[in-house]
Every structure is written in structure tokens, then in C-alpha cells.
């Protein structure tokens, strides 16, 4: 049997539901960890891995929507698929607005559930990759000298060497050298690549166009 990467956490106060949904997901090769209380889930949850949460909206100890909000506030951004016995418009709109992957009504059709879980895990994997890529970029960015970082902010704004030189009050030749080091250290081979890296790192272009007031 093929296994799907990633963990599917199930949280429902109804043990029968946990077993049933767990079986369904396991039969499709998902790694499932089931919990009947919020506390046991929070103790065991490993948000740094690729994972998603299938969450019952109505639980006696803590409302599922509230749990979602608390997780979000705590920076735990697990993609969530909500299951509910009774959906209503405000509830589902709120859930989707707050970033839930899907909002499914019980009894849930297996195809709908599997699709939602696959989507959720795909989101999680994308997020995971983004974080990994950003971490590696940040490492590379950290080895740039302050001057090189400065030059990079001009390069990503599309500035020519001579313009950068004029701004930084140095020679064009120096800027050329800095520029090539930036490319080498950031391991990119084009301005476009550098711009992408900068966007990923949240670095703002130095938009000091001559004559501009920004």
C-alpha cells in the first residue's frame, strides 16, 4: 500500500467518529493520529512537520472554531478541515475566512473528505517548502556584508550600476564587484532570481530613483 507523506490529526469528542474516520483515512494510506480531547492533541501535535487537522466543530470542552483561532494566534498554522453536524452560513464563512481548508458536513462523503485532506496536506507541504526555502535564503543573505546588502536592495529595484554608484557615492567598478558577489553568495544568476529571493525574504527594493521623493 502506498503511504502518503504527512500526518493527519483527528480531533473529535466522539470515539466512534474518531475510529471511523481514522479507518477511512488509513485505508487510503494516510498516517493518522486521533485525539478525543484538545489537551491530548496539543500535547502530541508536531506542527513543524507536514500535517493537517480534521477538527470537529462542536466539542464540549472547546469550540473547534475557537481552537482554530487560538492555534492561529499561537502561530501554529496547521491547515484545518472542519467537520460539523450542522453547518450554517456565518460559521462556514468565518471558518473559511480564517483560513480553514474546507468545511464539511457530517455525514461526510469519503471522496469529499479525502479530497479535503489531500488539499490540506498539499497546503502544508507547500508552506513547509516555503519555510525551508526562506530559511536557506536567510542563511545566504546573512553572509552578505552590509555594503553588499545595500547594493542588493538597489539591484532588485532595477538600478543600473552607475545609478547605484551615484547613490552610494562610490565608483561604478566597486558596485560591479559587489554586485557579482551578491549574485554569487545568494546563488542566483539573474536579477529576476534575486528579486524572487528578496521577495521571499521580505527585503524592500531601495527605490531611490534619482529625483524621486521616496
Amino acid at each position: 500500500m502506498k503511504t502518503n507523506p504527512g500526518i493527519v490529526y483527528l480531533l473529535d469528542d466522539e470515539p466512534g467518529m474518531l475510529r471511523a474516520v481514522g479507518r477511512l483515512l488509513r485505508s487510503e494510506g494516510f498516517n493518522v493520529e486521533a485525539f478525543s480531547s484538545v489537551k491530548s492533541f496539543l500535547d502530541a501535535c508536531r506542527p513543524a512537520e507536514i500535517c493537517c487537522l480534521v477538527l470537529d466543530v462542536s466539542m464540549p470542552e472547546l469550540d473547534g472554531m475557537e481552537l482554530h483561532r487560538r492555534l492561529t494566534r499561537a502561530g501554529i498554522l496547521i491547515p484545518i478541515v472542519f467537520l460539523t453536524g450542522f453547518g450554517n452560513i456565518p460559521m462556514s464563512v468565518r471558518a473559511i475566512k480564517e483560513g480553514a481548508v474546507d468545511f464539511l458536513t457530517k455525514p461526510v462523503n469519503d471522496m469529499d473528505l479525502l479530497l479535503a485532506v489531500r488539499t490540506a496536506l498539499k497546503h502544508a507541504a507547500e508552506k513547509h517548502n516555503e519555510i525551508a526555502e526562506a530559511a536557506s535564503l536567510a542563511k545566504r543573505y546573512a553572509i552578505l556584508t552590509p555594503r553588499e546588502q545595500e547594493v542588493m536592495s538597489y539591484v532588485i529595484a532595477g538600478k543600473l550600476n552607475k545609478q547605484i554608484a551615484a547613490h552610494l557615492g562610490t565608483g561604478e567598478q566597486n558596485i560591479k564587484i559587489h554586485r557579482s558577489r551578491v549574485f554569487e553568495k545568494m546563488s542566483v544568476d539573474s536579477v529576476a532570481g534575486l528579486v524572487r529571493a528578496a521577495q521571499c525574504l521580505g527585503i524592500k527594493p531601495q527605490d531611490g530613483t534619482p529625483g524621486s521623493r521616496h
Binding site: 467518529m17 479507518r23 450542522f86 469519503d110 543600473l160 530613483t209 534619482p210
Partner: protein
């Protein structure tokens, strides 16, 4: 009833065709190309027609393709049984709207999706039909590759004897008088009804086609010839033509196009200019098949092995900086003698000559290493050149001088402006100077203008100077600048550009996406039509022909001055988009801004704009607007419906033509509607709107996608409407619409609800009648009263159940959900080998357990609904309370109520009718929950206690709700007393009468600080 969750999403169409402009360097056309990777069945396009419904159809060697502007739909002999073959040779749309399809396997004619093959049995003897010609009366002439000719009248084929031996392909044509013509290598001439008559002046021709005026275009040797009424009226030798031609055609602009089998594509323009396209200048293949012009004037080129190409006529031309196309043109201006100047970053100064920029070699001009930012030739012929860092240079009479930076307000000269007195205003980046009477005068604090850069100057008709300063807009009056403020007293900031309004006002464009208008001290903001999100207004120029050209972050808006004034004056008017964009020939990189001058109007009426990719120009006088409204269609409607039995979904799709009154069965969950807006210049610039009557209250903007999906619509009648505007903002004449009805489940139907409502009202009425009788007559016999009380108790149980139904649905839903998931898991497990028997066994055990649970819920329901004599028997009161709590558990969760209990141990049994007491408790608990509904969640607490009191068992239900009417708490037990919007006010009255029937009592007392306690007392059973 469960509430519905209706959602709407836009889906990208399956094979959405992106619009790559594959070649943008052509001076006259933007060229886009589609090949197999874009969804074509094969890399050729052999013929094209546009049907009356607006669709484009073209042939390939692997199928017939229909194009709706965003998707290709392929028809071939596999999916279309009536088609003779998939290799399409030629297409013809006749006057009756029939499409004639010539394939490599025979001829067919198609109308409304119905195909008819035509062959020997119809009298057609030739091989592939190469050309179709049609007379005014609808008669057709067919010519084949092997030289056969046939006439079709009505449905009848009549072979005409060919003018020369078979084996030679020929072109057919119907002339102004309706005579048939044949054009081929050995013969050109007409059919007089009995025989062919040659034209003496044309010895041999390789191609022919009908001219727009009804004449005949011919290629003979390398000459292009035109005949009118058989007489030669035009002849021109076309250089470079050799070999065979596939076809010849004329477009609405008077261009004649020649498709060569191996030498690319030729165009002979109306003024006589010949243009030749090959793979070197944008053509995707050397062999071209056809040139087709659609109703909107888009030109389509079919090729062999190069797919389909679209030639979009440019409305703007780009003049790149020679040798360095990526060079920024920072400034453009027109001198008094008509010279158009362009200043560049790092490449020096240029002049426009013909359709090119040429270096302006002027002695003393700033060198090529300088970044020039502003160029201006004043009325005296002096040339002013501002640069970044190098300050200002003035060229006059062959001499040059560079001005010290302190005189120009800094060395970064970004703006130059000549006012009506001939004074020059300029900003050196740090402050402003004015050149007057041969000297520079600083304009600073003394004149009311703070230090800082001014990127744009303007003068209003009263002669006052305006400045777009880095701190805000300033306006001078009597030589003194004052900042411009809006109605709330805020400075008008980040002003990019200014433009004089001939009526004495000023147009002001700002970075924050706003366009403002000032007149007589009043500042108004101009609105853009909804959906247009531009980040900045960076240039405004009037073309002297009543049109304003507004440069925005999303292209140029061309707005009539009347509309612009209207939008500024009338709060309900707005500036309409779409904007002119890349598909009009504008560069994707935007425009140069925060400089002056960046746009200009030359004496010949042309507009010029500075951009980072060169100088962009257009001639407003020749600006061709697409006034063809797009035809709109709804192509398909489809839905998914869950089949609850098998656990899978069925998908139903209806395609056009969609009939009236489509019925969607109950439970149709996901509804998808695919639309088409047939405007072909660029898919992205077609603006689409939709409205689902029954859900939407007005038109909704639709993103680029033409497909919309609705989830879980409520059962109702709907009409979906769709309309679109072409890239020039012309809306479709009528909208496309489809009406459909989503059927309800029986419990969602009006009749079912109606019956329920009638029953409830009847119940209410019966109760009311009973109360009235009871109160006023006192004459009803005891037995009768008893019977009626039973009746009412039953009806009120039904009513209470109605209130509980949400909770009960959940109670039933939960086991059903578990059973479904378990069963579906089992189905999957059973498909695997080896079957995990143990696991399936466990699943079945769970299913049985859950099924029993569901059964118990139903049993409890039936017990409650049971009608009958009350049967008093010894019951444990705590057990009855616990039973009720199980029933309402999920109701508590839904309503966010926490319940606390405190039960007295070892209470003796009470004499009670279990069901009736449950009914009373249920009523008390539901009331308590209702009373606390408006509390914040932590204050929704319910206490339920059992205790002994005065030899009776007592159940106390305490809430923290809104409390009792303060003056007479017992009024709650009166019939028809209610605080609820939907209540009958019967619950507590009945409860009290039930309590009395048990020889017990029901009382209420207010709590401090808030809430109510209800006490139900019941006598203990006398122990045996």
C-alpha cells in the same frame, strides 16, 4: 432544518488559453501564436470562418476547432460521428449560416451541430474542395484540387466541365454580375452558362480572390492584379513572390494578404506598401494557409506547422532607442519647429525622424554617459537639457553653457516648464528656480514654496503657476504659492501630474490612485468605475480633440472630456475602464513619470509618451475603436449530485443550446456554469459580469475565468445572467441567460412546511378554543376535559419536538456519520488483498453499535410522541432528569450552555407519567436556554437539582437569563404569555396543568442578581 452554506467560486477553465504575445517588435501588429501546447489538436490552421453566433471556427489536419476567446473545442471524426474526416482542407460559411467543411475524406455541411455528408451520390465527383465561391442568391461554386468544378443550386450538384484538363487546382469566384470565374495556371475567365470565356489580359494566374468591392484580385506571375467587371483596374509587381500561393484575401483596411506555400506572408497595403513576414519577423512558419479578419478587425493567420497566429493591429507604436531597446526614455517634448526630442538614461539625446529615433548630435550637449531626465525646446529655440547630477545645460545658437547647480536649485534637474510669458520654471531636485529676463531667480520660502523637488509644473488659464511639490500640490496667486487642501483641510499629497482644464480649473493626478479636479477653490475627486484598481495616475494629456489620455499604473485610459468633467461634477458618474494596454502596443514596463515633460502633442496631432522601453506614439485622429459588442453565450450548465446510497457523486452536464426551465433534482450540490464572451483581441481585457437572480441583487464582476461554481444553493427558481464588454468598453447588446429550478427535498418543500405550519396553527387554535371554553363556560364534563388535555399534551409535545428538531437531527446524524465513514472504510478495505478480516470485523461491530444508538434515539422519540392515557407509576425522578439531559446534550453544545447538576441521593420514587414529566422538564430546560441566549457564553449556566421538600420530590431548574416579569411572576403560567417571537405561549400553562394532574405543582421564583428558578414538585409514591 439544517442551514445552508452557499458559496461561489470562479474556476479556471480546463484548457484555458493564455494569451502570449509572441512577437512585439513588429511596427504594425502585435503577434500571438497558438500551437499544440496551447490546446490545438495539431500545429496547423487551414481555414477559418466566424459563425453568426460569434464563434471562430478553424480547421486543422487533426480536427475542426471552435474558439471562444479562452478555450479551444475540438471536433473530430471520433467525437463527431457526422464528420467525414478530421483533416480539414477548407471551410465556408454560406449565406444561410451553413458551414461547408472540406475534409481530406470528403465534403460535409453542418448547421446547428447537425452534419450531412456529401459525395458521389449527390453528384460531387472531385477530391478535396479547395475553394468555395457564392453568389448573392446563395448558389455555390466548388473547385477541387484535381481541377473539377461544380455548381450547387439548392441541394443539387451540377458538374461544370473544367476549362482545361483535370489535374490542375483552381480558384473559384463569383463576380459583380453573378458570373462564375475560374482562376488557374492555364486559364482565367468566366462561365457564360455553356462554356468558359478567357480574359485576354491575364494569361495565367496562380491565385484569385474576391475583393471587398466585389472585384477580383489575381496573382499572375509576380503581379498583383485587380479586375472590375472583367477589366483590369490595378496592377503592381510584388518583389519576392515566387512559387505557389495558398490563398489571397483583402481585409477591411484595404490590405491585400498573400499566403505563400513556402515564402511566408505578404501584405500589400492600400497605399501600396508591401510588407513581407517570415520566421525572422514574427511568423511561426514559412508556409501560410489563410488570412482571416474577424468582425472586430483581428487578423488571423493560419500556417502549416506553425499553428494559428493572431495579428493584432497596433494602436500605439513604440520607437525604441536604437541599439539598446531597454534604454529608458525619461522625457519627450515637441519644439516650436516640430522637432520631437527624447532624452534617455545613458544614451544621450534623440530626435524622432520618420518612424525611428536618431541620435541628435549637437555640439556641447551632455555626453552619452549622462543620465538625462528632462528636455525642452522653448519658443525662442533654446534647448534646455536637465540631467541627473549634471545639472542644466542650455544650447543656444550652436553654443552651450552649463548652469551652476546653485542657480537651478540643485544638480538633479527633473522638470522643465515654459509658461505663457516665456519664463522657464525648473526644479533641480532641491528647490525651484525661474528663468526670466536672462537670469535665474530662486523661488523659495519667500514665494511660499518650501525647499524640495517639484516634479511637475502647470499653468491654469488665469496664468497662475501650479507645482507638484514633494510636500503636496501648490498653486500660486499674485506671485505667492499656497498649498492645496481638500475639504477636510488635508494637504493633497504625492501629486504626480497636473493638466490644465481649459475652463479655468486643473486636473491633478496622484500616486494614491486618485484623479482630482480643482476649480474656483473647490477640489473634487473623480471616481473610476467599480473594478478598476489603478495604483497611480501619473500623466494626463489632452489631445486637442476632446479626449483626455490618462496614464495610470494599468495602462492609458482614453476619456472624453465631457465624461471626465461629468465624473468630476456628478457624484454618481465615474470614469469607465478598461484601459489601453499591452494588447494595444503599449510597453508592459509602464511609463516614465515624476519628470517633466513626459508626454507631448505634436503639430500633426500625434501624442508622444516617454517610457522605459522607448518613445510611444499614437495618432488620435486614426484611433480605431472596436464598437462591435461581444456576443455572449452560456455554454454549459453542470451539477454534481451525491448518491447517498453508493457514496459517490453523479455528474450531469447540459451544453448549449440550453432550453428553458432546467430542473435540477434535489441534492444537486455543486453547480457549474461556463460562459463565453466572444471578443478576441485579448481574453484578459474582456470585462465580464454575472448575476444569479435569486441570490445576487446586482451584477457581479467576474474575474478572467469564464466558469463559475455555486455550492449548496437553496432550492428555488434561479436565472443566471451573463454579459461582457469588449476591450474598448462596449457592452454586449443583450445578456445571455439560463433559467433553472433547484428542486427541494420533500422536507424543504413549501407544501410540506405548509402542512406542518397548518398543523401547528390548528394545534394552537384548538388549544385556544379549549382555554376559552374552559375559562368561560366551566360546563365541560370532567371526562371531556381529560381527553382534551391528553390531546393538548400530545400537540404540545409535537410542538416541543419541533423546537428540539435541530438537536435531534444531530443526535441521529452522529451515528449515521460514523456508520457512513465506517462503511466506506470497509468498502476500501475489501478491495485490497489480503482483506484485513479483523479490521472489517471491528468496523462491523462499530456499525452495529452505532445503529443501535440511532435506534434508541428513535425509540425515545416515539415514546415521547406516543399518544395515550397518562399512566402514573412509581418512577425515579433523577433517572427521568438524566434521560432528558441526554436528549438535550447536543443542544447545550450548540447553544454554548454549560449545565451543572446536583442530585439528591436515594430519593424515594415518585408517582409520575414518565413521558409527561420528561415533557415538562424539556420545556423548562428549553425555556432556560432561550432566556440565556443573549448572555455572553460564560454566563450561560444552567443548574438542575433534585431534592426533597415538604414530603415531595422537587426538581429545580435555574437559569441566569432575562428573568420573569417583575410585577407578577406567576403570569408566566398564563396561557398565551410568551416572551418569544415564535412561541405560542402554551408551554408553561400546559406544564403547570401536567404538574397539577400529578397532584404536584410548578412554581417560579426570581433569582438575584438575575435569572429564574422553576420548581417542579411531585408527591412520592406511597410505598407498598
Amino acid at each position: 432544518m439544517l442551514a445552508r452554506l452557499t458559496a461561489v467560486t470562479f474556476l479556471s477553465a480546463g484548457a484555458a488559453v493564455s494569451r502570449p504575445l509572441s512577437y512585439t517588435a513588429d511596427p504594425d501588429y502585435l503577434i500571438a501564436t497558438w500551437k499544440t501546447e496551447d490546446g490545438l489538436p495539431e500545429d496547423s490552421a487551414t481555414a477559418m470562418v466566424q459563425t453568426h453566433d460569434g464563434y471562430l471556427w478553424f480547421g486543422t489536419f487533426n480536427g475542426l476547432v471552435r474558439y471562444n476567446g479562452s478555450e479551444f473545442t475540438v471536433f473530430d471524426s471520433h467525437n463527431t460521428p457526422g464528420m467525414p474526416g478530421s483533416g480539414i482542407v477548407n471551410l465556408h460559411l454560406d449565406r444561410k449560416g451553413r458551414m461547408w467543411v472540406s475534409t481530406t475524406s470528403g465534403l460535409a455541411v453542418m448547421k446547428d451541430g447537425i452534419w450531412k455528408k456529401l459525395g458521389k451520390e449527390n453528384g460531387w465527383q472531385g477530391d478535396f474542395v479547395r475553394t468555395f465561391a457564392e453568389r448573392q442568391n446563395g448558389d455555390l461554386l466548388l473547385t477541387s484540387f484535381d481541377g473539377r468544378v461544380a455548381e450547387i443550386r439548392g441541394e443539387k450538384f451540377t458538374p461544370l466541365s473544367p476549362p482545361s484538363a483535370p489535374g490542375q487546382g483552381c480558384f473559384g469566384y463569383a463576380d459583380e454580375q453573378g458570373r462564375w470565374w475560374i482562376v488557374q495556371a492555364r486559364f482565367t475567365g468566366w462561365w457564360d452558362g455553356e462554356r468558359w470565356t478567357p480574359v485576354p489580359s491575364v494569361s495565367s494566374a496562380i491565385a484569385g480572390a474576391r475583393a471587398k468591392d466585389g472585384g477580383l484580385w489575381l496573382i499572375s506571375g509576380s503581379d498583383l492584379i485587380k479586375l472590375r467587371h472583367g477589366v483590369e483596374v490595378f496592377r503592381r509587381t510584388i518583389a519576392g513572390i515566387s512559387g505557389d500561393l495558398w490563398s489571397l484575401s483583402e481585409d477591411s483596411r484595404g490590405n491585400v494578404w498573400l499566403c505563400s506555400t513556402d515564402h511566408g506572408l505578404f501584405q500589400v497595403s492600400a497605399p501600396g506598401k508591401t510588407t513581407h513576414w517570415t520566421s525572422a519577423n514574427g511568423l511561426s512558419a514559412g508556409s501560410t494557409r489563410f488570412v482571416f479578419e474577424d468582425r472586430e478587425g483581428n487578423v488571423w493567420i493560419g500556417t502549416n506547422n506553425g499553428g494559428l497566429q493572431q495579428f493584432i493591429p497596433r494602436r500605439f507604436q513604440i520607437l525604441p532607442v536604437p541599439g539598446a531597446a531597454a534604454t529608458v526614455v525619461s522625457s519627450v517634448s515637441v519644439g516650436p519647429s516640430g522637432t520631437i526630442w527624447a532624452a534617455t538614461y545613458g544614451q544621450g539625446l534623440f530626435k524622432v525622424e520618420g518612424n525611428n529615433l536618431t541620435p541628435a548630435t549637437l555640439p556641447g550637449a551632455p555626453g552619452n554617459s549622462m543620465n538625462l531626465q528632462s528636455v525642452l525646446e522653448d519658443r525662442k529655440g533654446r534647448l534646455w537639457i536637465g540631467s541627473f547630477g549634471g545639472g542644466l545645460t542650455i544650447l543656444e545658437g550652436g553654443k552651450s553653457r552649463t548652469i551652476p547647480h546653485e542657480e537651478t536649485g540643485g544638480g538633479n534637474v527633473i522638470s522643465l516648464f515654459e509658461d505663457s510669458r516665456g519664463d522657464i520654471w525648473l526644479s533641480g531636485g532641491q528647490s525651484v528656480a525661474r528663468f526670466r529676463d536672462g537670469a535665474f531667480h530662486p523661488v523659495g520660502d519667500a514665494a511660499g514654496l518650501p525647499n524640495g523637488a517639484v516634479s511637475f509644473f502647470a499653468e491654469d488659464t488665469a496664468g497662475n503657476i501650479w507645482a507638484a511639490h514633494q510636500n503636496g500640490a501648490f498653486r500660486s496667486e499674485n506671485g505667492r504659492f499656497r498649498p492645496l487642501v481638500d475639504s477636510e483641510g488635508n494637504l493633497v499629497k504625492e501629486v504626480h501630474t497636473l493638466c490644465q482644464d481649459t475652463a479655468g480649473g486643473m486636473w491633478i493626478g496622484a500616486n494614491s490612485g486618485t484623479l482630482m479636479h480643482w476649480r474656483d477653490g473647490i477640489l473634487k475627486t473623480v471616481r473610476f468605475a467599480p473594478g478598476f484598481a489603478s495604483r497611480r495616475v501619473q500623466g494626463i494629456i489632452n489631445d486637442g480633440r476632446e479626449w483626455f489620455w490618462i496614464v495610470t499604473g494599468r495602462g492609458i485610459l482614453r476619456v472624453h472630456s465631457k465624461d471626465l468633467t461629468e465624473a468630476a461634477q456628478n457624484p454618481s458618474a465615474s470614469v469607465q475602464w478598461p484601459a489601453l494596454d499591452q494588447f494595444d502596443g503599449l510597453p508592459a514596463s509602464g511609463f516614465s513619470a515624476l519628470r517633466q515633460p513626459v508626454s507631448a502633442l505634436s503639430a500633426d496631432g500625434r501624442l508622444w509618451f516617454a517610457t522605459p522601453r522607448g518613445v510611444v506614439t499614437t495618432n488620435p485622429a486614426n484611433f480605431r475603436v472596436n464598437r462591435v459588442p461581444p456576443q455572449v453565450h452560456i455554454e454549459s450548465l453542470s451539477w454534481f449530485r451525491s448518491d447517498s446510497g453508493a457514496g459517490n457523486a453523479t455528474h450531469t452536464k447540459l451544453t448549449a443550446p440550453l432550453h428553458e426551465s432546467i430542473i435540477l433534482p434535489a441534492g444537486s450540490r455543486r453547480l457549474e456554469i461556463q460562459c463565453a464572451a466572444l471578443s478576441f483581441k485579448s481574453t484578459d481585457s474582456v470585462r465580464c459580469q454575472m448575476m444569479l437572480e435569486g441570490l445576487d441583487s446586482g451584477w457581479q464582476e467576474m474575474p478572467r475565468q469564464r466558469k463559475v461554481a455555486y455550492y449548496d444553493l437553496a432550492p428555488r427558481d434561479y436565472t443566471f445572467r451573463f454579459r461582457a464588454a469588449n476591450a474598448d468598453g462596449v457592452w454586449s447588446e443583450s445578456d445571455a441567460r439560463v433559467a433553472f429550478t433547484l428542486q427541494p427535498y420533500f422536507w424543504d418543500t413549501f407544501w410540506f412546511r405548509g402542512i406542518c405550519a397548518v398543523l401547528l396553527i390548528a394545534a394552537g387554535g384548538a388549544v385556544a378554543a379549549w382555554i376559552i371554553k374552559l375559562r368561560h363556560l366551566h360546563l365541560i364534563e370532567q371526562a371531556e376535559i381529560h381527553k382534551q388535555r391528553e390531546e393538548i399534551a400530545h400537540l404540545s409535545r409535537v410542538a416541543a419536538l419541533n423546537e428540539l428538531s435541530g438537536s435531534l437531527a444531530h443526535e441521529l446524524n452522529q451515528p449515521l456519520a460514523i456508520i457512513l465513514s465506517n462503511a466506506q472504510a470497509a468498502q476500501r478495505l475489501l478491495q485490497r488483498t489480503p482483506v484485513a478480516v479483523d479490521e472489517v470485523h471491528e468496523i462491523l461491530t462499530d456499525i452495529v453499535a452505532e445503529d443501535r444508538r440511532a435506534g434508541l434515539v428513535i425509540q425515545r422519540l416515539r415514546a415521547m410522541l406516543k399518544r395515550g392515557e397518562s399512566a402514573l407509576q412509581p418512577e425515579r425522578i433523577t433517572a427521568i432528569v438524566e434521560d432528558v439531559l441526554t436528549l438535550v446534550r447536543s443542544d447545550f453544545i450548540n447553544r454554548g450552555v454549560t449545565a451543572q447538576t446536583s442530585f439528591a441521593d436515594d430519593l424515594p420514587p415518585v408517582m409520575a407519567d414518565r413521558i409527561q414529566i420528561q415533557q415538562v422538564l424539556l420545556n423548562l430546560i428549553t425555556n432556560a436556554c432561550d432566556a440565556m441566549a443573549s448572555n455572553e457564553p460564560r454566563l450561560r449556566r444552567l443548574f438542575i437539582a433534585t431534592s426533597e421538600s415538604d414530603g415531595h420530590a422537587r426538581v429545580t431548574v435555574t437559569d441566569e437569563g432575562c428573568g420573569l416579569p417583575s410585577n407578577e411572576p406567576d403570569r408566566v403560567f398564563n396561557a398565551f404569555f410568551t416572551t418569544k417571537d415564535y412561541g405560542l405561549g402554551m408551554g408553561l400553562a400546559i406544564c403547570k396543568s401536567i404538574a397539577h394532574a400529578h397532584n404536584g405543582n410548578l412554581t417560579a421564583e426570581p433569582n438575584t442578581p438575575r435569572g429564574t428558578s422553576f420548581h417542579l414538585t411531585l408527591p412520592f409514591a406511597s410505598l407498598p
